[in-house]
């Protein structure tokens, strides 16, 4: 098995000299002890990285992509870790065979890690510069404090931290998420390691910052000549940055190969299915192709192929359910599938569904103005910032600052923006979970802001919310059935009727009715989100507010939930307010889109107008920042990532709020706030909306 993957490495780098990998994982197995028995989280992970290349390791939650590498470096500290076997060869030593002090001598020097969620990966009580300096001094005892400081300041400048000498003495909480990730990268490249491991380096970041960090990772690779292992769940990130790709499933690599090949001619059905389940930014697809079922349970690995129960080509063939396929070199890559040729035909067989979704008869034609189920007019939400001795409000956070929008029945308004833009606050305003400061919010013509207690309760029955985190939004002590029945109970539906209605709701969202007595903890994320949707449907609402409903879900499960929402809307003509940071998801689900920036809508219109003819520089920059899951032609793609972070909503910039990051801003933008006005069939709040069409925005230097 290892031999095959080695061959892959060599074929991918068929240079004159044989390529020696800088890091090789060989048959890595990681097991945890749990009350339910031994869980094999990693089951024979094998891959190589050579210097100067980026290997993308892509897979869904629980596929073993992170655990394997952490185990290889001895960084798994979980007390229930039972066993780590196999080899992790760095240069010419097996890391797993080293005693801890010896291993530590190599960590940070020969192999460095960039972790996800950089803010919590930095020590909150230590100066940022000292934390980087520690990485230097721990491997070079002779290095003086002054020399270390000078080198750290240089490193901070290299990774794009402004004012590095001042920033050296600051603490992590004074840095934004993107800046913290830059610090992590500086720390990782400090000793010019041979291997850089980036574990979901951009996962918690906004797209515009993600684009900056991905660029920086490229610089870091060039700077150090290291081999990079980029671990991610995001196919777009892989397509954008990797040279070679390993796809993980069930604790091992099921397919590996050159990045272009993986994305255009996958040889494993899982890879193909994953690509089919992915909402695309670059093309509107009528319907996603979800992967049925759930990821495998690592405590009961199937004897055959781990993907067989969900596989579209296995069709219950005995060889798939009984014999575990080993990776076989095939056409420049390796695929652990018994029928790689059939897998290859999967992507091509994908139905040509680029037809317009509007062809559905259940949806009213666009030009007929339907009554708005939700009508928001100039909504404002401000929160006080308290400071000083008497905790008086010294400033206000303008979370939502004069937003108007309408959602008619049977349609979806996608609300998109980066973190801190006020989109979640706006969603909460609709149900008055946040008190509005000003403006009017009408649900079916009823004023939410003026409603009394009982009227508000009636409004909330008609407008239901589905929250982002299905792990936190269900009461863990109530069975899922009781969770769903709660709204019915509050309406005074008698118990007998409740049971039958819950059963009906379960069927509608694709849950098995006999599972109603189980607790939420027994369900996976996707199933829990179905429960949350069933709960929202219980009171037969006319409006669903979906606050990042699929952000916590894996791609294959996300597609299931998105399709479910689409089906439900077609059946009941519910209006959706769909809040998401994910532009591709919004493109998939929405009819109309509103782009928010610092509490205001900067652009709105039909999906086609906003995605294909964006006029606001912010929308354009966002769309350009999203990594496209298509490696073909990535070199030629125009990409000018937005600089900096979203400014604080406490003191938003004067005039146009986007001007501080805008590549085309002029003095006019600082003086006059552009109104949201009709431009090319949509609404854009930019002074230069007519001029931005089609042109590539060049950053002014």
């Amino acid at each position: 098995m290892s031999g095959v993957v080695n061959d892959v490495t060599r074929t991918a780098h068929s240079g004159a000299t044989p390529v020696v990998p800088v890091l090789s994982l060989r048959d890595l197995v990681v097991e945890f002890g749990t009350p339910l028995g031994v869980v094999r989280a990693v089951d024979g992970m094998t891959y190589d990285v050579v210097g100067g290349e980026t290997l993308g390791v892509v897979g869904e939650t629980g596929s073993g992509k992170s655990v394997s590498v952490l185990a290889a470096l001895g960084l798994l500290s979980s007390p229930n870790l039972r066993r780590v076997t196999g080899q992790a060869v760095l240069g010419d030593v097996d890391l797993l065979a080293l005693p801890q002090p010896e291993l530590r001598r190599r960590l940070g020097r020969d192999v460095a890690v960039i972790f996800q969620d950089a803010i919590s990966a930095l020590n909150p009580v230590q100066r940022v510069g000292q934390q980087i300096a520690e990485a230097l001094r721990v491997h070079d005892r002779a290095l003086s404090a002054a020399a270390a400081r000078a080198r750290v300041v240089e490193l901070l400048g290299m990774v794009g931290v402004p004012h590095p000498a001042t920033r050296y003495d600051q603490y992590p909480h004074q840095f934004s998420g993107g800046m913290c990730q830059r610090v992590m990268i500086a720390m990782a490249i400090a000793n010019r390691p041979k291997v850089l491991i980036a574990d979901e380096p951009t996962t918690a970041l906004d797209v515009s910052v993600q684009a900056q960090i991905l660029d920086l990772l490229r610089v870091a690779r060039q700077e150090t000549g290291a081999g990079v292992v980029l671990i991610t769940h995001d196919l777009g990130v892989v397509a954008e940055t990797a040279d070679r790709v390993g796809v993980t499933y069930g604790g091992r690599i099921v397919e590996s190969g050159d990045v272009t090949q993986i994305f255009t001619r996958p040889r494993h059905p899982y890879t193909a299915a994953l690509l089919g389940a992915l909402p695309r930014l670059d093309s509107a697809s009528h319907r996603l192709l979800p992967i049925p079922g759930q990821p495998p349970d690592p405590s009961e690995p199937p004897p055959g192929c781990a993907f067989a129960p969900r596989c579209p080509i296995s069709r219950g063939r005995t060889v798939c359910t009984e014999v575990r396929p080993e990776p076989v070199a095939t056409g420049g890559g390796a695929s652990a599938c018994h029928f790689p040729d059939e897998a290859a035909s999967l992507l091509a067989a994908k139905p040509d569904d680029d037809s317009e979704p509007d062809s559905e008869p259940a949806v009213e034609p666009r030009d007929e103005p339907a009554d708005a189920v939700l009508d928001v007019r100039d909504a404002v939400a401000r929160f006080p910032v308290r400071s000083g001795v008497f905790a008086r409000a010294s400033a206000w956070v303008h979370a939502v600052d004069g937003v108007s929008l309408r959602v008619p029945a049977g349609r979806t308004l996608g609300l998109v923006g980066e973190s801190g833009c006020g989109k979640t606050t706006l969603a909460r305003l609709v149900l008055r979970l946040v008190e509005p400061t000003a403006g009017k919010i009408l649900v079916d013509g009823d004023d939410v802001g003026r409603a009394g207690r009982s009227q508000l309760r009636r409004i909330r029955r008609r407008a239901q919310m589905v929250f982002q985190d299905p792990y936190a939004s269900l009461n863990p002590r109530l069975s899922v059935g009781d969770n769903v029945a709660e709204p019915l109970r509050l309406q005074g539906v008698p118990q007998g009727q409740r049971r039958s209605q819950v059963a009906e709701l379960f069927t509608r969202v694709g849950l098995r009715t006999e599972h109603a007595d189980r607790l939420p903890a027994e369900f996976s994320g996707g199933q829990r989100q179905r429960v949350a949707i069933a709960r929202a449907l219980a009171s037969r609402p006319g409006l669903l507010i979906l606050d990042e409903p699929v952000s916590a879900l894996d791609v294959s499960v996300q597609a299931q939930v998105l399709n479910l929402l689409a089906d439900l809307q077609r059946e009941t003509a519910m209006a959706y307010l769909f809040v998401s940071h994910d532009l591709a998801v919004i493109r998939q689900v929405a009819d109309e889109v509103a782009v928010m920036y610092l509490g205001r809508i900067v652009e709105s219109g039909s999906v086609r107008r906003v995605y294909e003819d964006p006029r606001h520089p912010y929308t354009r920059a966002l769309l350009a920042s999203v990594p496209v899951p298509d490696p073909v032609g990535r070199a030629g793609r125009q990409r000018v990532p937005l600089g900096g972070d979203v400014p604080s909503p406490v003191n938003p910039p004067s005039g146009c709020r986007f001007r501080t990051r805008c590549p085309i801003a002029t003095d006019l933008c600082a003086e006059e706030e552009p109104p949201l006005r009709l431009v090319a069939g949509g609404h854009t709040a930019c002074h230069f909306a007519e001029r931005t069409a089609g042109q590539v925005l060049e950053a002014r230097s």
Binding site: L75, R104, V113, A121, P124, V138, H173, M184, M187
Partner: protein
């Protein structure tokens, strides 16, 4: 940081004022008039009236409070009903003894709690870890006074190594004698408080060891010893500082029971006796001192927090 501290200081003043009202009010809510207690059951009405006038008990409620607070601000807490000496001198006589006992007890608490807490957090399944976990449970369960009595019986009465009843010997005059006198009550106190402190430290250290930044430190190649020393302990010490501050407050307020068991001439015993004798002036003054000490320690804990945690200092 400064805003934070100024706010805390103002809170300190307000709470102290409210505390003084409560202290003063509660003693008057107690049954029995000091004059009756002083003069005994056979006193005549005229004698009672004269004594009340002498003690200021015939003034209005508010008037009594205001004059008491007014004097208290200038450092005059009145005179003890019994001895007639100023309350401040009575307190000052006992405070050094209490401070010394508190200091020794706190020293022992930390000396025991820090290594025990670290061991229990880092090696919970080792032999030492299991034994020390047993100590933590036992230390919490054993009543302090009972442990005190046990120590007296074994070490003082049977083995005759240490005195059964402790006098106050100033540490700077006779360190050996001072230690001999305070070690038994200090151990009796420290067994309990060290269990509480070690438990806090173990819990927060265990939590911190699972944090992402600990993993980062390891990934940098920092040896495990330094990971704990430089990264884990400082973060884990924050909740522990709170509990240590509270404990020190209790110590300085006088460990009434232990001082009674060891017949130690501290603040606790003074207050204990004063309550029995209905020496209101002494009780009020003493409790006010205890309240002020507690508040002051809380303030110090806040300052210390800010020193340890830049997130508090810089916002």
């Amino acid at each position: 940081m400064y805003g934070h501290l100024v706010r805390r200081l103002l809170q300190f003043a307000v709470v102290l004022l409210l505390g003084s009202v409560a202290v003063w009010g509660f003693t008057f809510a107690l049954p029995g008039d000091p004059a009756t207690v002083l003069l005994g059951p056979n006193a005549t009405a005229a004698e009672l009236a004269a004594t009340r006038a002498r003690l200021g008990l015939d003034e209005s409620f508010a008037g009594q409070y205001l004059s008491w607070v007014g004097h208290a601000v200038t450092g005059d807490l009145g005179a003890s009903y019994y001895s007639g000496r100023p309350v401040v001198s009575e307190l000052l006589d006992r405070i050094p003894a209490t401070v010394q006992l508190a200091g020794v007890a706190m020293f022992l608490t930390l000396v025991i709690a820090v290594p025990v807490g670290i061991t229990v957090a880092l090696r919970p399944y080792s032999v030492a870890g299991r034994v020390l976990q047993g100590y933590l449970t036992a230390g919490l369960a054993v009543p302090t006074f009972w442990l005190g009595l046990l120590l007296i019986i074994v070490l003082a009465v049977q083995l005759r190594w240490l005195p059964a009843s402790s006098d106050y010997v100033p540490l700077w005059e006779d360190p050996g004698g001072a230690l001999t006198a305070t070690i038994l009550p200090a151990v009796a106190i420290a067994v309990h408080t060290s269990s509480v402190t070690a438990r806090f430290l173990a819990t927060s250290l265990g939590e911190v060891m699972g944090k992402d930044y600990i993993r980062t430190a390891r990934a940098k190649g920092v040896p495990e010893r330094d990971v704990i020393r430089r990264h884990a302990l400082r973060n884990a010490s924050l909740p522990t500082v709170t509990i240590v501050g509270l404990q020190l407050g209790t110590f300085l307020g006088g460990t009434v029971v232990i001082e009674a068991v060891f017949n130690y001439p501290g603040l606790g015993r003074l207050l204990y006796t004063a309550i029995g004798e209905r020496d209101y002036a002494l009780v009020q003054g003493g409790v006010l001192f205890v309240v002020a000490t507690f508040l002051l320690l809380n303030l110090l804990v806040d300052v210390f927090y800010a020193v340890l945690d830049p997130r508090i200092r810089l916002t």
